[in-house]
């Protein structure tokens, strides 16, 4: 037996070990598997992996160990893949701050993208990565985006403000500046988001609103619905600080019941001699929000309702009633909130909802909290005229199967009975009938309510008290028992025979009662002792003795107190004389009032109102100012043309459409001019992006480190030593991370460069040194664009289709590393050619962005399309297939080396400095004899820029001409200088790309030696 069990144990152990071994690799395998998929070259595999990872995130499973594998795909071309990577990044960046930094450069690059949606999404993700270290970068990005031409990007900037604020509240002052700028924005798209940011960051800076107040009021109808809610709430607060109360003269006409609402002080302040005139701006707000009561969005309707409640003259308030009642048709949760607000309103203004009383009738299918709220409102609405209808309705509710609801109804009946004296008797009789109900909760609730009602006029109701005494044995709910005992004691003089008998019964069961009942027994005993000591003296003493040894200290305490008070002895002197007056003092009747009585201290429609306690971040609604502040602050200096509500005019929509199509172009040019402007104003420090050629990783890391060191030496000149120290520290840290991670090469280099920039940038920020550090090479517009086009496909070989291409020398919109090409396709046949496109198969390795297929090309017609090719900084030909519906033609493009560059501008000093770094292997030079007509500066410049897409550097020295550019693909710096020493000229080319350098040299040489234009 023992052996058996031992065996089985060992077997189990084996089994478990085995399964453990199985499980571990299986688990690893799973993530390993995902990692492998992410590292594969196939988009579809990567996508599949990301989808599975998102599935894990959704389930709340931890997928953080995949971070390095995922973050590599951040620059993917596939939009869905990219989006999923963003989802992942935003989720885990906070936990993996160091690694998250690797993705920053991608976003920084995307922030400059000509496409507004790409810019916006980059800013969105960048600002969602909650990594404190990038705060300065975020700040910069927000500032830039706030001046973007696209309203969509500006909207995103407004959202980013809040994110940055929650990440680093110290940025508040800077952010307020941005908010101020964005508040001036006239786009409906931005308005809601910026007001949201305002509410979050600086809700007290009401002065920022003045100038924008009228604009916001006018835009409101066209703002998207969520923005409307936020703006309306903000404007409500604003109006309460800026306008005087419109309620003054109305107060005279108000119903009597509302007297309490008006502060007596406020009424005294009323200056009857001066009639109230509403500020036109106040009127503007009311007028422009009114149509929104018809919105389908319940939050908007509620927001407008609360605005009217807090701001409108009382006689205009009735327009919100219908809309609020309409909301009751909506979902259960909406009903709940709306009913709460109606409950608060209905206390102060019965008249508003009385005509809609029947809308608050309870259905058996309503949820309990809805039923209770409806009951509350019905109680509030009850008056002499409608009380009979309401009571009849209540009668059906009392019979409800939902006992909690039935109990609440009884409470409501009690409320009605106290509020409306005409029906008190009817209600009491009804409640007494309920005492014989079978359900305990109903009976208990009735007793409690009757007790409260009787307190108002006890003398007439001794028979009710007798009736209750009779029922006492059958009632077990403690609260009800306690209530009856209290009634007995309080009115023992009305029922002199019954009360002692009840006490006798209680003495028997004292020990079994609940605490609350025990207290009342002691109470009753004391009162009887004082009024009828002859009959109850012994009973009282017995009860007091029981109480003395009770387990509950409250009861022991009370007993001790009562004994000292009522039983005269030597020690208790003064007080016992007053015992009767203390215990039998006439007590004020309890006021049965609504739970919503004091809810109006909160702004309606807010979370605080719903909870009836101040939620964090709740902004108090201020009282009306006694004297209106200066109205002129809202005047806008420049008289703006009145903006037509957009939906009203068709023509505007059309013009907007056409604007859209041209917007991308205008945007691009503006961003260029923008960047140029900045260059002039800032003394930029340019850092170089470098790409090591070696494929050996070890070597690469070492060389990168060295280069970084080199940079630091050059930085030495500008930066204080402590900053250098910090930079080095930060860098060392990340380089270590890199060595640990095996990250594929191009990505690594990108990261390295961006990290270097980041580090220097941060080191400056840390010491609060405002250091004008420019961290990226900025492409400028081309100096010269050649008109010559090259033949791609001759019409003979192309069976009538001819194609020509030319280099536009613009940064390519399809990808940062692509060369932009313009293709002109012409149809020389007499038939239309259909479906002209570039075949999916690319024979060489180049990445080609194809133009959209041309559906149909008419005879003799020609069409111009643009495409992008990533030549990867080599002059290798790009081969691809140009296809029509019928045929396929192999074509190839061989770029001149000068076309693989993008011009950049820099100062002369920077140029020489950079040149100094690119010596030795990286320098190639030649001396030529220059033709005489080429000696002038204009001709040298023209010759060089026509050969290569370079930027001209303003030169301080005569006879030396400098040109700078970067390679399109890798962004390596290419510096060309021509020094004229009559009659010779020395051409020097400095670039890391030595092959390109020598090719370029040859071309420049030929250009300058050739005569002619």
């Amino acid at each position: 037996m023992l052996g058996m069990s031992a065996n089985s144990v060992s077997y189990n152990e084996q089994g478990s070990v085995e399964s453990g071994v199985d499980a571990a690799p299986w688990f690893l395998c799973r993530n390993e598997d995902l990692k492998e998929m992410l590292e594969s070259n196939k988009e579809s595999l990567k996508l599949e992996a990301m989808k599975r990872i998102v599935g894990l995130i959704a389930k709340g499973k931890n997928a953080s160990e995949l971070f390095p594998a995922v973050v590599k795909n951040v620059a993917s071309k596939n939009i869905e893949l990219k989006k999923l990577v963003y989802v992942y990044l935003v989720r885990y960046a906070e936990e993996q701050q160091d690694l998250a930094l690797l993705s920053i450069s991608t976003f920084q690059r995307a922030l400059k993208d000509p496409n507004q949606l790409i810019r916006a999404s980059a800013l969105r993700v960048l600002s969602s990565i909650r990594v404190p270290i990038i705060v300065p970068i975020m700040m910069l990005a927000i500032k830039e985006a706030a001046t973007d031409l696209s309203p969509y990007v500006r909207k995103t900037a407004a959202h980013a403000i809040q994110k940055l604020f929650s990440l680093d509240p110290d940025q508040k002052e800077h952010l307020i500046e941005v908010i101020e700028k964005l508040l001036k924005d006239k786009s409906t798209l931005v308005a809601g988001s910026v007001v949201m940011a305002f509410e979050e960051v600086c809700p007290d800076r009401i002065d920022l609103i003045h100038k924008n107040y009228r604009k916001l009021c006018n835009l409101l109808v066209d703002v998207e619905e969520w923005g409307q809610v936020v703006i309306i709430h903000m404007l409500t607060r604003y109006a309460r600080t800026q306008f005087v109360s419109p309620w003054r003269e109305d107060a005279v006409f108000d119903e009597n019941s509302e007297k309490a609402f008006y502060d007596s002080e406020e009424e005294r302040r009323v200056d009857q001699s001066k009639p109230y005139i509403m500020d036109p701006d106040h009127r503007l707000l009311l007028r422009n929000t009114k149509p929104l009561l018809q919105s389908r969005n319940t939050a908007v309707v509620m927001a407008v309702s609360q605005l009217y409640w807090h701001l409108s003259p009382k006689h205009e308030l009735s327009i919100i009633t219908k809309s609020l009642v309409r909301l009751l048709r909506s979902h259960r949760e909406v009903q709940y909130i709306v009913l709460q607000n109606i409950a608060t309103m209905s206390i102060q203004r019965k008249g508003m909802f009385e005509p809609f009383m029947k809308s608050f009738y309870v259905r058996s299918t309503d949820a309990t909290h809805i039923k209770t709220l409806k009951l509350e409102i019905l109680t509030n609405l009850a008056n002499e005229a409608n009380i009979s209808t309401i009571l009849r309705e209540f009668q059906t509710y009392v019979k409800s199967q939902d006992k909690a609801f039935a109990a609440a109804t009884i409470q409501a009946i009690g409320c009605c009975a106290t509020n409306i004296s005409e029906v008190t008797d009817t209600c009491l009789n009804g409640l007494v009938l309920l005492l014989s109900n079978r359900d305990e909760t109903v009976v208990a609730e009735s007793v409690v309510v009757i007790k409260k009602l009787l307190q108002t006029q006890p003398s007439q109701h001794s028979d009710i008290i007798k009736h209750m005494a009779k029922l006492f044995d059958n009632i077990t709910v403690p609260m009800a028992r306690a209530s009856i005992l209290w009634l007995m004691g309080e009115y023992c003089e009305h029922v002199p025979k019954i009360a002692p008998d009840v006490l006798r019964k209680m003495a028997k069961t004292f020990t079994d009662e609940e605490d609350i009942v025990k207290l009342q027994i002691v109470n009753l005993a004391a009162k009887l002792y004082l009024t009828n000591s002859k009959q109850t003296k012994l009973l009282t003493q017995y009860i007091l003795n029981l109480g003395k040894y009770d387990q509950n200290y409250d009861i022991r305490d009370r007993t001790r107190f009562i004994r000292q008070l009522i039983v005269p002895n030597e020690k208790s002197g003064a007080l016992s004389k007053y015992a009767r007056r203390i215990l039998m003092a006439p007590k004020p009747a309890p006021v049965l009032q609504s739970a919503f009585k004091d809810r109006d201290r909160f702004q309606l429609g807010t979370l605080s109102h719903t909870l009836n306690s101040q939620a964090s971040g709740y902004l108090e609604l201020s009282d009306w100012p006694a004297v209106a502040p200066d109205q002129s602050v809202r005047n806008v200096e420049v008289v703006e043309p009145v903006r037509l509500p957009l939906r009203e005019s068709e023509s505007e929509e059309n013009s907007n459409d056409s604007n859209k199509s041209s917007s991308s172009q205008s945007e691009k040019s503006s961003s260029e001019s923008d960047s140029e402007k900045k260059k002039k104003t800032l003394k930029n420090k340019k850092l170089q992006q470098q790409k090591p050629d070696s494929k050996d990783r070890q070597k690469r890391i070492r060389s990168t480190c060295l280069r970084i060191m080199q940079h630091n030496y050059s930085l030495n000149y500008y930066l204080p030593p402590q900053i250098i120290q910090k930079t080095l520290n930060i860098m060392t840290k990340y380089i270590l991370i890199h060595i640990v991670l095996s990250i594929s090469s191009p990505f690594f280099v990108n990261c390295m460069c961006s990290l270097l920039h980041l580090c220097v940038f941060l080191a400056c920020q840390f010491d609060a040194v405002s250091w004008p550090v420019r961290v990226s090479l900025q492409a400028s517009s081309p100096v010269f664009v050649p008109e010559t086009s090259h033949e791609l496909l001759h019409r003979m070989t192309g069976k009538g289709l001819s194609a020509q291409y030319r280099f536009t020398r613009q940064p390519c919109i399809y990808g940062n590393s692509m060369v932009s090409l313009q293709l002109t396709l012409s149809n020389r046949t007499d038939q239309a050619l259909e479906n002209i496109h570039i075949s999916e198969k690319s024979s060489t390795g180049q990445n080609i962005h194809r133009f959209n297929a041309i559906e149909r090309l008419e005879p003799q017609a020609s069409v111009t399309v643009s495409m992008g090719v990533d030549f990867n900084d080599s002059t290798q030909t790009a081969n691809f297939q140009l296809c029509t519906k019928e045929d396929e033609f192999s074509v190839s493009i061989q770029p001149a080396v000068g076309e693989l560059l993008l011009p950049i501008t820099m100062s002369e000093a920077d140029f020489t400095k950079e040149q100094g770094k690119l010596v030795g292997m990286n320098e190639s030079s030649a001396t030529i004899t220059i033709t005489p007509e080429n000696v002038s500066s204009q001709s040298v410049n023209r010759k060089v820029v026509s050969v290569a897409n370079l930027g001209v550097i303003p030169s301080g020295q005569e006879n030396i001409y400098r040109f700078a550019g970067k390679t399109v693909s890798s962004g390596s710096l290419v510096l060309v200088s021509v020094a004229l020493k009559d009659p010779d000229a020395m051409i020097t080319i400095n670039t890391e790309k030595t092959v390109m350098g020598s090719m370029l040299l040859r071309q420049v040489k030929t250009a300058l030696t050739n005569s002619g234009p």
């Binding site: 596939n78 969520w226 949760e333 199967q401 979370l607 939906r647």
Partner: protein
């Protein structure tokens, strides 16, 4: 604003979480579970729950709780409305909003949630824009996607988001241009024991299905617009035109949408299409009861009442029902205590009747209140309020669209007390 969202099914399983700001541990939902337990019925869960540091605002829809976490003051309706919009979007995308469909399409759900909120503030909630950003799954597309590896994410940019008409996308093209409008009216009523109307009103909506090319500008007018007591519109409707001329002028979204909803005031006498004669009684002894229900037509204007269903929520003590129906079928579920009588078409010549006995739990006291009856019905080609569409005009486009209007009357919250 909205910090995180948790989806929880009826059994209390948390099956999806999404955070728009820092991650909040799912243990926050314990407060919700506590409230859920206390409420017994899912409908009774309070929509706003306070926890020490956060506030939970939840909605219950299609057997799923959408629980959102809030940190600071926000209008609660803002959150509730948004959550409902999320549920509607799921319904729109997947045909139904259920746990299975959400789990099956978790990637699309995530992509949608990502687009709908930025930092807790709604970004794109218009279905037309969302559909351009993320294409809804269809069987055909998912098959093509698996074969070709192409994606569901739109590569083009949504045109609507950047324009002043965010609800409509540009470049819509149809070969058949058509616009259909369904006027659907619901009668909300409470009838008392004797059949008199305690409360009745009519709520109507106009659902539209517009498939028109280009940028059509439509104008819809009514024969009797005065009937409409209170209206609310889709954002596309120009409020000003309605206020001044009582016509509905709008550039429609593409596809299906709800153009407007309206309310016919209780002052106008509401015609109740049917009457119900019922007698439900429980006996003091013998733990049994009797049930007898007859339904007949009242004010139907000569139309046929269809899809007539009577639902009774029986008291807890009713164990089983032994009934016989002259028309239709009945079913009593002893677990939920719901008696469902599906009558179908109402025949005025031969009134449907359900009669029989109920057996109660022995020993239990007889229920105090008789259960109320909930009625469901439908009348085709008839708007009970008498509302009539006068004409539909189109401007801005050249072609001639095909137009159609349909009327339906349904029972809304139609309850008969007994």
């Amino acid at each position: 604003m909205i910090h995180s969202l948790f989806l929880i099914n009826n059994a209390g399983d948390l099956f999806l979480e999404k955070h728009w700001k820092s991650v909040i541990s799912r243990s926050i939902c314990d407060y919700f579970f506590e409230a859920r337990e206390k409420a017994v019925e899912p409908d009774n869960v309070p929509p706003v729950i306070r926890t020490p540091h956060h506030y939970l605002i939840n909605i219950y829809r299609e057997k799923i709780f959408f629980v959102s976490v809030i940190q600071t003051e926000v209008p609660p309706l803002f959150v509730i409305e948004f959550l409902h919009r999320v549920a509607e979007t799921f319904q729109d995308y997947f045909g139904e909003c259920s746990e299975t469909t959400i789990k099956d399409n978790v990637v699309i759900v995530y992509e949608l949630l990502e687009e709908m909120l930025d930092n807790g503030f709604p970004l794109a909630t218009e279905s037309n824009i969302l559909k351009e950003l993320i294409r809804p799954p269809t069987i055909l597309r998912s098959m093509v996607n698996t074969i070709t590896g192409s994606s569901n994410v739109g590569e083009t940019l949504p045109t609507g988001q950047l324009s002043n008409i965010p609800w409509r996308r540009a470049g819509v093209k149809y070969t058949n241009n058509e616009a259909y409008f369904d006027v659907v009216e619901e009668i909300d009523a409470i009838l008392d024991k004797s059949g008199t109307t305690v409360f009745a009103e009519i709520q109507g909506v106009i659902d539209a299905c517009v498939k028109l090319s280009g940028m059509p500008d439509l104008t819809l007018s009514f024969m009797n617009p005065r009937l409409l007591d209170d209206v609310s519109f889709h954002p596309c409707v120009r409020y000003k035109r309605w206020e001044s001329e009582r016509v509905i002028s709008f550039i429609p979204p593409d596809g299906n949408f709800q153009l407007m909803s309206y309310h016919i005031s209780a002052q106008n006498l509401v015609a109740i299409p049917i009457y119900v004669k019922q007698n439900i009684s429980f006996f003091e002894t013998g733990s049994s009861g009797r049930l007898d229900i007859t339904v007949g037509p009242k004010q139907t204007m000569g139309k046929t009442v269809e899809c007539l269903v009577v639902t009774v929520h029986m008291p807890k003590v009713v164990l089983s029902a032994n009934l016989s129906a002259t028309q239709g079928t009945y079913n009593y579920d002893p677990v939920t205590k719901i008696l469902l009588w599906d009558i179908g078409k109402l025949n005025p010549q031969k009134l449907p009747n359900l009669k029989g006995s109920l057996s109660l739990q022995s020993g239990a006291p007889k229920p105090e209140e008789n259960p109320s009856l909930n009625i469901d019905l439908k009348i085709q080609q008839f708007a009970i309020s008498g509302l009539k569409v006068n004409r539909l005009d189109m401007y801005g486009e050249k072609y001639k669209p095909f137009k159609g209007v349909k009327y339906v009357t349904k029972a809304g919250k139609f309850q008969v007390r007994t």
